[in-house]
Symmetry: C2
Subunit: 221 residues, 2 copies
């Protein structure tokens, strides 16, 4: 384990939806880097069970408890219920950096496709609800399979980090960078989050065609 960046010293990361594949995978990697992690779930008991299966300093609480306990709060819940959950946790999330990883996607016989979101994107919906938090979009395109597999030592992908507040995007770039192989790359303002969320549908097509767990690298930087 290499030293954590100074920006993350003493920081607890909460992961809402922490019992799903993406949330669990991120929690595993953050904890492996030495960050205290709190898994949130609708059921505290399921969160505790999931936490026990992860190495490192991981505990489980219900989503409200996790939101209150985290300094940075990662939102990795299903798109259905995204807005409702954030509305309920507005108080717990006030003053915090909230990292939205949610991809509003639909699925049919032809695969995945992007859903229209009234606010433009899941990240923008989060910011519209959470007026007292700083929302950053990130971790949309990282393979949960790779995050969750302890045999995968290095995850070959960049994480595009989107947001309107430099201090917050810098912090989340640092957070992405604690995952071996991953580089956090500034990817633009929150108004350009939709296409990064939706790109996950393309990666699902890539995965199908090439039998892969595709990621994205930005070249020339």
């Amino acid at each position: 384990m290499s030293a954590l960046p100074e920006s993350l010293a003493g920081t607890t990361v909460a992961v809402l939806g922490g019992t799903g594949p993406q949330g669990r995978g991120l929690a595993r990697r953050f904890a492996a880097a030495g960050i205290p992690v709190v898994l949130g779930s609708r059921s505290a008991e399921r969160a505790e069970d999931a936490a026990r299966e992860l190495p490192g300093e991981v505990r489980g609480l219900d989503n409200a408890g996790a939101a209150a306990a985290g300094d940075i709060v990662v939102v990795a819940v299903p798109w259905e219920g995204h807005g409702e959950l954030l509305t309920a946790l507005k108080g717990e999330l006030a003053g915090k950096v909230v990292v939205d990883c949610v991809n509003p996607l639909g699925f049919d016989k032809q695969g995945a496709y992007a859903l229209a979101v009234e606010e433009g994107s899941a990240a923008q919906q989060a910011q519209a609800i959470l007026g007292d938090s700083t929302v950053v979009g990130a971790f949309h395109n990282v393979s949960a399979v790779k995050l969750e597999d302890p045999e995968v030592e290095s995850v070959d992908t960049d994480v595009l980090v989107l947001g309107d507040v430099r201090e917050a995007t810098d912090l989340v770039q640092d957070l992405a960078g604690v995952i071996p192989g991953v580089r956090g790359v500034y990817g633009g303002r929150l108004r350009n989050a939709h296409q990064v969320e939706a790109l996950t549908a393309n990666l699902i097509s890539v995965n199908r065609r090439y039998k892969a767990h595709a990621g994205v690298r930005i070249t020339d930087i």
Copy 2:
């Protein structure tokens, strides 16, 4: 120059909007690979002038002449006028593979952002207009600066190729692959073209932040 793939033997590529940076850059690379290229422009004279500046077998015509002359027709015109031009060239483009590279973007003080498109994307608008053509989306995220610079021997990027007809996407993947360094990667159906077009806004943000000419690589394939 390495041998062209068999799929492109005897194929002429037309580039509509061939006097703009993206069109000129693509034309340069296709011609350098040994493909006969026809530049199209509103003004045949400007197309001829641009053609003379490119090495290889390149000639210039007005857009209608170029559309008629090409076996594969690349659309690299500005978003404004995209629909109007394609409507006017519906006859010339019938029966052909039409490669749409157009990114519907707006710009303001905060940079670039994706425009809403009634049909979903430029590529889907093209397919809606050109019922007798096979539309493929590609070359959205390739740096025109890198394409145009003869000193850049290899362009470090993948090209996501989107379409609903396998034969056509395979062909356009081959076409992308003639550019040194570039790999054509199947990126999903046309309904998932919007986010690939819009991702160009994110790359513009990346370019600004990192002083780069960013591209995209898909990992694990």
